[in-house]
């Protein structure tokens, strides 16, 4: 798993590549947690290069979203594809989160 982030005005775009499984999910959650503690409140998580996600990954996403909600923050997702999209659909995450085709369309939807 590899995580990078960049700032687009007030929004942090986080790109995660590879696999979020039970072993790597805590690192992913800590990464987002750090950004929130540094004041980040608006996030787009780009999943276009994510190959794999299990319920451990969904758990860290949900924990992050709950944390952000308590701070009046916001998290959106972009670039879902393949098995990651399938897992989002089965778990109901597709309907509880804001999902966009691209970072650009997520950024345009304030």
């Amino acid at each position: 798993m590899e995580i990078t982030s960049r700032q687009e005005k007030n929004t942090t775009v986080v790109t995660v590549q590879g696999r979020i499984d039970a072993v790597t999910a805590p690192e992913f959650e800590n990464y987002l947690s750090d950004l929130i503690s540094k004041g980040g409140r608006s996030f787009i998580v780009n999943l276009s290069a994510l190959e794999y996600i299990s319920s451990a990954g969904l758990r860290s996403i949900l924990a992050t979203a709950k944390k952000l909600k308590a701070e009046q923050g916001d998290i959106k997702f972009s670039g879902l594809q393949g098995p990651v999209e399938e897992v989002f659909k089965i778990s109901g995450f597709y309907s509880i989160f804001k999902i966009f085709d691209s970072d650009a369309s997520a950024l345009n939807n304030a």
Binding site: D21, A22, V23, E51, Y52, I53, S54, S55, A56, L58, R59, L62, A65, K66, K69, G82, P83, E86, V87, I90, S91, G92, S95, I96, F97
Partner: protein, 139 residues
């Protein structure tokens, strides 16, 4: 039923990748698609992580994972532990319609197993939990 591969390791998260790699390689050798292999990896991870967390509580114990093939018709991942009796199929399905604030994560792992596999069976045999994840090889 032909046994393709068996691996037995302590039921600990540090062995997850070794177990998933083994299952994944077996699935690829059956000629399954990349997508199907990915789904099998997810289902196997969910089943294994449950065992790591709950089967032995404070004690140590092993988990054994076997890949099996049945007359070229079905690919089966059999996961055996000697921990507490636990039937994952009896776990209630989560309410997937609740919003972020209300939503709980419990049960999603088992839901993924059920939705991604063609069939799942559980039995308690003597002191063992035997979970089988079944994948049809022919449509």
């Amino acid at each position: 039923m032909e046994v393709l591969s068996t691996i037995k390791v302590p039921a600990k998260l540090e062995h997850l990748h070794a177990l998933i790699d083994r299952v994944s390689n077996c699935a690829k050798e059956q000629g399954l698609s990349e997508k199907r292999v990915n789904e099998i990896e997810i289902a196997a991870e969910e089943a294994l992580v449950n065992i790591f967390h709950y089967a032995y509580r404070e004690q140590e114990g092993d988990v054994e994972v076997s890949c099996k093939a049945e007359r070229g018709m079905r690919f089966i991942i059999e996961i055996v532990d000697r921990g507490m009796p636990f039937d994952p199929l009896a776990v209630p399905e989560p309410d997937t319609t609740l919003d972020v604030a209300e939503r709980q994560i419990g049960g999603i792992g088992v839901l993924l197993i059920k939705k991604l596999m063609d069939d799942v069976t559980y039995k308690r045999d003597r002191n063992q939990n035997i979970l089988r994840l079944v994948v049809n090889l022919k449509a």
